[in-house]
């Protein structure tokens, strides 16, 4: 029989406690060494970028990474002012012709200088027949792009455009070297991609030949994806990351009162109601749609869904930071259930009706907003049944008109009413617009607004548009919601850009410092 006395370990209380103590000390010893890493900015993304193709829009997280790698002719400075970016200057030689002078020192990451030919390659690819570029439809107003000389390039447009420069500053308009292959588009942004682990992180390193001297100010940015918003916040609090995007609304207070963290927020996207007006249901009548507008107590949505971080939106969604004053109480909603009932009665539904309310369970804010809208509709006699599929199904149902009424959240990418074009102008069915809705009046005003260069006249056009928005009811606005970045106090220079420019905040990576 083998001697197994060695196996006779008798666990005493002291031995166990000593073991636990030693284990915990070992875990705690190196403490937070991973928090201090020189000049690497550690940024917590809300989702891992599905792909980083320069011209496709694959979501806010991708766009942040993209802006660190690719830059276009126009851009924004660290104060969110529109400025020439890779272009040094521009000049409108006539209302439909603009000439860009390129920076002499701008080079691509492979060392090739940025030339007119690269600009031509970029824009011809964006508007090519088989392109899936985000800006393709916006930029179809380009008649031709020509090289005047090596560093000068001329765009000819079909008609004047008040927003052309803003479109060129979009995160999907980055210049790409003309010899690039489809799998490896080479840009000229402030950083180059140096390492990546799919689904985990992307690391970019300062490009030494960037065209602005002394920028970018940090050596590296490490983008790490934290899909769960609470974990993302926990990672910030423990010091695993320096900046996070999409701070959960419930944490705004905590960050504002924190000694170590700070917040940079703006009021950006808006929540709204869309309608299916294609079939002969009640929502075909604009009065019924207006009734919905009067039925909702908007502050409730702001308080319950967004922890009070937002503002009721009662009329035309003129983006915060827009140069035009368009508010006018006579064309805005108030909370007035009596008026809503009256409008329903006038439309022939004094006793209300039943309908299907589409939102998505993928995003809590959509689902919760829908539940509140449902409750208020109940009060004026509209019985809405909630339909809450996953996001993919919701997009499909929206596009195919498989709903009666839908709750949604939308935003543009610059602070000008024209940014609402894709959300209001008629076109092929989209889940971002009321199904079957078309208004020649709204289309005309949008077209006129884009082609008017004079600021005062433009404001008049958009006042008309705001009126049309109220009377034709393409959508019913609910509220603006706040969008915030939270960061460690020592982070300097990074800020959330105001209003709809929020999605372009990555421009401020150029001057972000860690002290």
């Amino acid at each position: 029989m083998p001697d197994n006395s060695g196996l006779n370990f008798k666990p005493t209380r002291r031995a166990v406690l000593a073991g636990i103590g030693a284990g915990m000390t070992a875990m705690a010893l190196p403490g937070r060494v991973w928090a201090a890493e020189g000049k690497t900015l550690r940024y917590g993304l809300s989702t891992y970028p599905p792909s980083i193709t320069p011209w496709n829009n694959t979501g806010a997280s991708s766009n942040y990474v993209k802006l660190s790698l690719y830059r276009g002719l126009m851009g924004y400075d660290s104060e969110a002012n529109l400025v020439p970016e890779v272009a040094e200057s521009y000049e409108w030689t006539d209302p439909t012709t603009i000439v860009f002078k390129l920076r002499d020192n701008a080079v691509f990451h492979n060392g090739a200088p940025v030339t007119s030919e690269d600009v031509i390659f970029t824009f011809e690819s964006i508007i090519a027949e088989d392109s899936s570029a985000y800006l393709k439809s916006s930029l179809l107003n380009i008649v031709k792009v020509e090289a005047v000389d090596e560093k000068t390039v001329k765009f000819t447009l079909t008609e004047p455009s008040a927003v052309f420069l803003k479109e060129l500053a979009n995160y999907c308009a980055g210049l790409v070297w003309k010899g690039s292959t489809q799998d490896d588009p080479i840009g000229c942004g402030p950083f180059t991609k140096t390492s990546e682990e799919r689904g985990v992180f992307i690391e970019v390193t300062r490009f030494p030949d960037y065209y602005i001297q002394g920028e970018p100010t940090c050596e590296k940015i490490r983008f790490t994806a934290y899909a769960d918003q609470n974990l993302r916040y926990a990672a910030l609090e423990t010091g695993d990351v320096d900046v996070i995007e999409y701070l959960p609304w419930a944490q705004f207070d905590t960050v504002e009162q924190s000694d170590t963290l700070k917040i940079s927020s703006t009021v950006s996207p808006f929540m709204l109601v869309l309608f299916n007006v294609a079939n002969d249901g009640p929502f075909k009548d604009p009065k019924v749609r207006q009734a919905v507008g009067y039925a909702i107590q908007r502050q409730d949505v702001v308080d319950a869904v967004f922890a009070g971080r937002g503002e009721p939106l009662t009329g035309f969604p003129n983006p915060p930071g827009s140069p035009y004053k368009l508010s006018d109480a006579s064309i805005e909603y108030s909370f007035d259930p009596e008026r809503a009932k009256k409008l329903l009665a006038e439309a022939g539904y004094p006793n209300g009706f039943s309908c299907r309310l589409l939102a998505t369970s993928t995003y809590g804010m959509h689902q919760d907003t829908a539940a509140i809208v449902q409750a208020y509709l109940q009060m004026i006699g509209i019985n809405a049944t909630l339909d809450l599929p996953d996001w993919a199904t919701r997009v499909k149902k929206g596009k195919e008109g498989d709903y009666d009424i839908a709750v949604h959240g939308l935003s543009g990418y610059y602070n000008d009413p024209n940014a609402l074009w894709p959300l209001l102008h008629s076109g092929p069915a989209s889940y971002t617009r009321s199904f079957g809705f078309e208004s020649a009046r709204i289309d005309e005003l949008l077209e006129k607004g884009r082609a008017t260069m004079d600021e005062a006249k433009r404001e008049e056009v958009y006042k008309e548009l705001a009126k049309a928005y109220f009377e034709e009811v393409p959508q019913v606005p609910i509220n603006w919601r706040a969008q915030a970045h939270a960061m460690q106090k020592p982070v300097k220079g990074f800020m959330a850009f105001p209003g709809w420019l929020n999605s372009s905040s990555a421009y401020s990576f150029d001057v972000t410092e860690l002290s």
Binding site: M24, N56, S131, G199, A235, A392, K396, S411
Partner: protein, 316 residues
């Protein structure tokens, strides 16, 4: 034995084909278009033309039957195609992520076994004792609290309050072994607690049953030392049901660690599956489900083998 293995192998292939075909058809029945989803992330509006162009690029404009045959032909020689989203070969991604999920499960299993079997045995030998009552009560709590709640509590306690461990994430073992283990600790303990509660209960019940058998009494009567009786006659015989349950749990965990992976940002296979489903990345979804099914079948096969080793009376 060989005949048994061959039969099992054929049945496994057939099952995989059925799984593959079901998953292929289900993916086309559920609504959602990968091209449209990719171009409309975060509520962006994409033109119909852009979407059609991307669909063509993804190969989704081909007839269904062509796509099905291509899928079968590819799967037959382990080529699962490319992800529709970023064009990386799916096989590569699985090779990268599967080991992480397995690592997490094995680490959890290790913790579950080293705590569950001894404590279960101890409790089973002295039913009703204070040890038994304490652990059984704690176990009742553990079994009723879901892993994601425990996970959230752990992150709050160990990362946010005590600052002992990072909140979550992943680095590879080769780039930073210590940090790797630190990041593994919380998710592994969370999985381990779940397994512990199951293993503890099984062991306790099994030991309780075994200790009443005649041969245990005989062994004690002939003067064998108590430890030896327990180890050789009680625990060994009690292991049968535990092996079955552990095997089953391993298979289930392959697909269900997703919540743990999500909470701790552990980039394993099941997290990838969820993202792929959300993006309707068909080739990835198919490949992951096929691989997980294959592993499940394999584990069951191994359980039967281990069974026969533990109890020679079971002839295959």
């Amino acid at each position: 034995m060989l005949r048994f293995a061959l039969n099992k192998g054929l049945a496994a292939l057939l099952m995989l084909w059925v799984v593959g075909t079901i998953i292929f058809s289900v993916l086309f029945i559920i609504p959602g278009d990968p091209a449209e989803l990719l171009l409309t992330s975060d509520g962006a509006s994409a033109s119909q033309e852009s979407i059609e162009n991307l669909r063509k690029e993804m190969g989704l404009d081909k007839p269904l039957i062509t796509q099905y045959l291509e899928f079968l032909a590819g799967a037959a020689h382990f080529d699962f195609g490319q992800s529709l989203i970023d064009h990386v070969p799916v096989g590569e991604t699985i090779a990268l992520r599967l080991p992480r999920t397995i690592e997490l499960i094995l680490a959890g299993l290790f913790l579950g076994l080293v705590t569950g079997i001894p404590s279960g045995t101890w409790a089973g030998l002295r039913p009703g004792g204070s040890f038994d009552r304490t652990i059984s009560a704690a176990n009742a709590v553990l079994i009723s609290v879901p892993g994601f709640v425990i996970g959230t509590l752990f992150i709050y306690l160990f990362a946010q309050v005590l600052h002992w461990l990072p909140a979550g994430g992943y680095v590879s073992f080769t780039s930073d072994p210590l940090l790797h283990l630190k990041l593994l600790a919380l998710p592994a303990i969370t999985v381990g607690l779940h397994l512990f509660s199951i293993i503890f209960r099984m062991t306790r019940a099994s030991v309780l049953e075994m200790r009443t058998h005649d041969w245990v009494r005989t062994a004690v009567a002939k003067g064998l030392r108590r430890k030896l009786v327990v180890r050789r006659h009680v625990v060994r015989n009690a292991l049968g049901p535990i092996v079955t349950v552990v095997g089953l749990q391993m298979g289930i965990l392959l697909g269900s660690t997703v919540l743990i992976e999500f909470i701790y940002n552990w980039p394993g296979l099941s997290g990838y599956l969820v993202t792929a489903v959300q993006q309707r990345d068909y080739p990835s979804v198919r490949a992951i489900i096929l691989v997980v099914s294959a592993l499940f079948i394999l584990i069951n096969f191994m359980v039967e083998m281990i069974y026969s080793l533990l109890d020679p009376r079971i002839r295959l």
